[in-house]
Symmetry: C2
Subunit: 216 residues, 2 copies
């Protein structure tokens, strides 16, 4: 039990780091690519900053709120399946016992080999339901407050990340003069997240720049 708790705790910390990486790498990538793309078509830093801040607002809300609502849907799904399993172990215990056995049959065990665990679980309805949720349905118990914390972390990281590529445009009024500095600070920031995010950021920015240049 202690070990399970420890694992979950570790997972939560890892999830927060993951949320920061998700939010910040997208926050660095998309506003940078948008700013670089617009610089291919527009000379004024002011327009680039306007577009960039609008994108940061929209992107952080879409990512954060979208993630929050998705997590809440998952939690509701978990709740309704939990309700159903609770009813089923009471109303159709034989069917549910067979379903527990089938979990083990899928791993090559015989019905006879699985029987002692099936019997033991059927004497503990709470644990039985938990077992079905995880092992039959593959659903993890949602952590309370996790969804909101995750949403705020991702959105905050997106805003912080997005301000990095825009900062040089705030100092330098000529967008074309600001672009190399924006690229430099963004690349340094992306490198902190490793090669993969740098690759994504560079490809996204190049595509945005080419498209914006082509149509203007």
């Amino acid at each position: 039990m202690t070990q399970t708790h420890h694992v979950e705790h570790h997972f939560t910390a890892g999830q927060s780091v993951r949320d920061v990486v998700i939010g910040m790498s997208d926050g660095l990538t998309v506003p940078f690519a948008l700013a670089a793309g617009l610089t291919g078509a527009i000379a004024s830093s002011h327009i680039v900053i306007t577009a960039g801040l609008a994108e940061i607002a929209a992107g952080s809300i879409a990512m954060g709120l979208g993630g929050y609502l998705a997590a809440r849907s998952d939690a509701e799904h978990y709740g309704s399946e939990l309700e159903r399993e609770r009813l089923e172990v009471v109303e159709k215990p034989e069917v549910e016992k067979r379903e527990v056995a089938e979990v083990f049959v899928a791993y090559g065990l015989t019905i006879e080999e699985a029987a002692p665990v099936v019997e033991a679980l059927s004497r503990r309805p709470e644990a039985w339901v938990d077992f079905m949720m995880k092992f039959e349905l593959g659903l993890e118990k949602p952590e309370p407050h996790r969804a909101l914390q995750s949403a705020l972390t991702i959105a905050g990281a997106y805003v912080v990340g997005g301000l990095v590529p825009l900062a040089p445009y705030m100092i330098e009024g000529n967008a074309r003069a600001a672009l190399p500095f924006s690229a430099a600070v963004t690349l340094v920031a992306l490198f902190i997240f490793g090669f993969q995010t740098t690759l994504i950021g560079s490809i996204a920015a190049a595509a945005a720049y080419l498209i914006a240049s082509a149509i203007s």
Copy 2:
């Protein structure tokens, strides 16, 4: 075994629908919010289209490629953990048997009640390793080609979604005149995805509009 296969198949189809929803709702939301935000500051539809297409390019690549690389990392993580478990069931079978038993102890079973399943699994090393991967480590076997298919679906849906709010700006040169049409077609499209995405899109667009208006 047939049932397990069926469940996985069902899961894959559900995943594709989910990918379309993820990509298209973000594709509708962020370019719409950006276009609406810029319209608060800029009169020319041409600049809005330039910014919008640059955002679609950057956003679809960041989402698609980002998701692809994340899924590939997960698959690599699965592969290295699988290697480790395979070694451990050969080199430290007693430790691994205890770990299987602990999975059941966490569900209130005694060591004795779990023993027959532990013994049965230990006679089938392949199934034993699969069991440890899923039930001790909570790792699902990654589906081959899933990552690439998911990335392309999300990116494609983002592009299609993003073109919806931009279409009115392509027809109407005055951005302020185009905005109500853009809002109308985007809201209709968001409604198809339900109330939640409409809510996100509206809040994101309002925030982008307010920020862009405030700084210009």
